[in-house]
């Protein structure tokens, strides 16, 4: 815990004063003023030098957002968010597009290092062997380093900030942006469409197997900055990509809003594997501070025999509202959702998935492991739907909940709707507690109560951990131990 605290404290002290440039109308400045109106939307668009169609797209989203209300159906409770009291754009001072790590502000690199997420290219440059990972690091709103660009471009893979893709691959962005999560999809997605700052863009050409794992680390640093990432991944016919998203945020006293949108498109025979490890600041034990995470993630298996797989390890955030989903449009397409959601302290998690079976012989699999400790609340909310034309649709759902202590809650809310009599949907759910017998047995063998809890929890989530890329799995395992600290005894 000491190390974690130190990290949080260190990060807190870094960069906070870096953004002292006020703004009124000066387009060169780094931060938009508080609040949201059409001028702010235009400002963001102008900062990024966007084409007119995108500015209009944003404005359209903003106008629609004004007519919408926040969804209330999730099992989460939080004070009303004042959307006029947030900053909608902030960029690090040195965002002049570094071409290599050398050009990256050493302070930024140091911050990443303190967070324990080194830009892995350094390891490789230093001769360290292992899996290659390309990193697109997002520091607040602007990508500060994009690595491995060249090697990827040899394979024809495009991996760049979405703000750049708007200029370099406008036809792809215009064709696919908003095609999975429409502008009007939901309150938070619509807000994101109006003010999205940056995020990653990936395009894998037909038949290409992406030569390395692609990775993005998001980090929220600036105080009172809502973060609105926008990620768009397109896997063209017969291609494959594995994408890793990691998130960390330093400690803050005020709640921070995060409303990201991730859209995945898999064409015929393509496969996308999307893995997330999210360990944002969850707030203190009294429920003060922490990130509000309202995320819309959706994949469209647009082509026949395509496959999209979501794997998530959620340990952070004060509020989590997140349902990575799959639209199984192509015949024989497949959707997967593997989730570990851990809540401790006063965290509130309402998370799950949607599997929408539209095509014939589509299959989906949901494995959800919820772990609640402290006074937290952990809800699995999942929808499985079969269209009347979805002959041969099959789903298997397994939701397991593990409770630690007596003050937490676990809930499972499945929505199952089949309009095709031939669809086969299976649902299994269990709720269990870590028993005194298990704890004592492990402790008699030499493990402390916390080590024993972490080991038992790791066993509980093993099916899902195995879905993560190797190095991510190791990280996730450590994270689980850290996030459960103080949950026993």
């Amino acid at each position: 815990m000491a190390a974690v605290l130190e990290t949080l404290e260190t990060v807190k002290s870094v960069d906070v004063d870096a953004y002292k440039y006020g703004f009124v109308t000066d387009i060169e400045s780094d931060k938009a003023p508080k609040g949201l109106n059409e001028d702010i939307v235009r400002f963001i668009s102008a900062k990024k030098n966007e084409p007119a169609w995108l500015t209009e797209w944003r404005l359209d989203a903003y106008r629609r957002w004004l007519t919408m209300t926040e969804p209330k159906w999730a099992r989460v409770d939080y004070p009303k968010i004042d959307y006029q009291d947030l900053y909608y754009y902030s960029a690090p001072k040195t965002h002049a597009g570094p071409k290599s790590l050398d050009e990256v502000d050493p302070e930024l690199l140091k911050t990443y290092e303190k967070l324990g997420i080194p830009l892995r290219e350094r390891e490789i440059l230093a001769g360290v062997q292992g899996a290659k990972v390309a990193v697109d690091a997002v520091f607040d709103s602007v990508s500060v380093a994009t690595t491995f660009r060249e090697e990827l471009s040899k394979a024809g893979v495009v991996f760049c900030p979405i703000s750049e893709a708007v200029h370099s691959h406008p036809e792809l962005v215009q064709k696919y942006l908003g095609s999975v999560v429409p502008v009007t999809d939901n309150y938070f997605a619509t807000l994101n469409s109006a003010v999205f700052s940056d995020g990653s863009f990936v395009y894998i050409p037909p038949g290409v197997r992406c030569p390395m794992e692609l990775s993005t680390y998001f980090r929220i640093n600036e105080q009172n900055t809502g973060q609105f990432e926008r990620t768009l991944i397109i896997a063209d016919k017969g291609s494959y990509v594995s994408y890793l998203e990691g998130c960390t945020a330093p400690k803050r006293d005020e709640n921070q809003l995060h409303a990201a949108v991730v859209e995945l498109i898999a064409l015929e025979d393509a496969e996308i594997k999307y893995s997330t490890v999210q360990n944002w600041y969850p707030g203190d034990s009294q429920g003060r501070g922490g990130i509000y995470n309202f995320v819309t993630k959706r994949g469209d298996c647009r082509g026949d025999r395509s496959k999209i797989s979501w794997t998530q390890v959620e340990t952070g955030s004060a509020i989590t509202w997140k349902y990575p989903s799959c639209i199984l449009r192509g015949d024989h397409s497949r959707g997967e959702f593997y989730s570990i959601a851990i809540s401790n302290g006063r965290q509130q998690v309402d998370s799950g998935t949607k599997m929408l079976h539209l095509g014939r012989n589509t299959t989906s699999r949901i494995i959800s492991k919820g772990i609640s400790a402290g006074r937290s609340s952990n809800t699995y909310r999942g929808q499985v739907f079969a269209h009347r034309k979805a002959d041969g649709a099959r789903n298997f759902t397994n939701c397991d909940s593990l409770l630690i202590g007596n003050a937490c809650g676990a809930h499972t809310v499945p929505y199952i709707e089949s309009r095709n009599s031939g669809a086969v949907f299976e649902h299994e759910a269990t709720t269990s507690k870590i028993s005194e017998d298990q704890l004592f047995y492990c402790m008699q063998r030499g493990l402390s109560a916390e080590e024993a809890t972490a080991l038992i929890v790791n066993g509980f989530v093993r099916d899902v951990l195995q879905q993560l890329p190797m190095e991510f799995a190791v990280e996730a395992q450590k994270l689980i131990a850290v996030s459960l600290e103080g949950s026993v005894g």
Partner: protein, 249 residues
């Protein structure tokens, strides 16, 4: 050496141990026999530090140190091992991962270097072969779906790897057929050493045919009511507990 002095313990307000006193020297194998409900398993739990028991009086010394204030894992790191009557299942945790985690946790607590994977695998394989524990078993989740015999062999395998200063075997013979009993007993006998003591809790003489005790104690109503040599166990086998318990009452 394990030294228990005037130990009183209760659970949920119910007194189970009533002033139990017992000393087991280094190199000694002591057997405890007694009727159901005499507090034998409670004794093993209290010595190992299970938190739902409350010690109301007395002391327990392991090699001269009073361990009653220590949490269970620190007692383990000081060399106390309990082979459970009912080993606990831990789903999803591979047996060999558990073994390595436990061994390294103890080594770390004692300030020793953690074992590297290769070193550990070598140790584990050697111990497993002796106890007819297959590699396949070691890859399964801990105790999940294991037969009674497999669970008990695994307990002894753990004791072998952890090499404790003092081992308590709680009805290790229960649920074992003759062949498994022999394998388990051989495993225990291999561990007998001049600097290691054992407390063997059992209902039956048959275990003591294989693990020959130096001393035999009869326990009833939460304390030791008679102490003797191996012949005491034979006498019990013939006449039952009734005479002893009646004498003590």
């Amino acid at each position: 050496m394990l030294e228990i002095r005037n130990l009183h313990a209760e659970i949920d307000g119910k007194k189970i141990l009533n002033g139990l006193t017992l000393t087991v020297k280094d190199g000694e194998v002591a057997a405890i026999m007694g009727p159901n409900g005499s507090g034998k398993s409670t004794l093993s739990y209290v010595v190992a530090g299970r938190s739902d028991y409350t010690v109301t009086a007395g002391e327990v010394f392991l090699n001269g140190e009073n361990i009653l204030e220590l949490p269970p894992h620190e007692r383990a790191a000081r060399g106390l091992f309990l082979a459970f009557q009912y080993p606990v299942e831990i789903p999803g945790v591979t047996t060999h991962v558990f073994l390595r985690t436990a061994l390294n946790a103890q080594r770390k607590a004692r300030g020793e270097a953690e074992l590297k994977t290769a070193e550990f695998m070598k140790l584990m394989r050697a111990a497993a072969d002796k106890l007819s524990v297959t590699q396949e078993m070691l890859r399964r989740p801990l105790n999940v779906g294991f037969s009674g015999g497999e669970k008990k062999r695994l307990e002894i395998l753990q004791m072998t790897l952890l090499a404790p200063k003092f081992g308590i075997l709680d009805e290790t013979d229960s649920g074992l057929d003759i062949d498994a009993l022999r394998v388990v007993s051989d495993g225990v006998n291999d561990l007998r050493a001049p600097d290691r003591g054992f407390l063997v809790i059992t209902h039956y003489q048959r275990l003591l045919d294989h693990i020959k005790p130096d001393t035999v104690h009869i326990m009833a109503q939460g304390r030791i009511i008679k102490t003797g040599g191996p012949e005491l166990a034979l006498e019990l086998e013939k006449n039952g507990y009734r005479d002893f318990v009646a004498d003590a009452a």
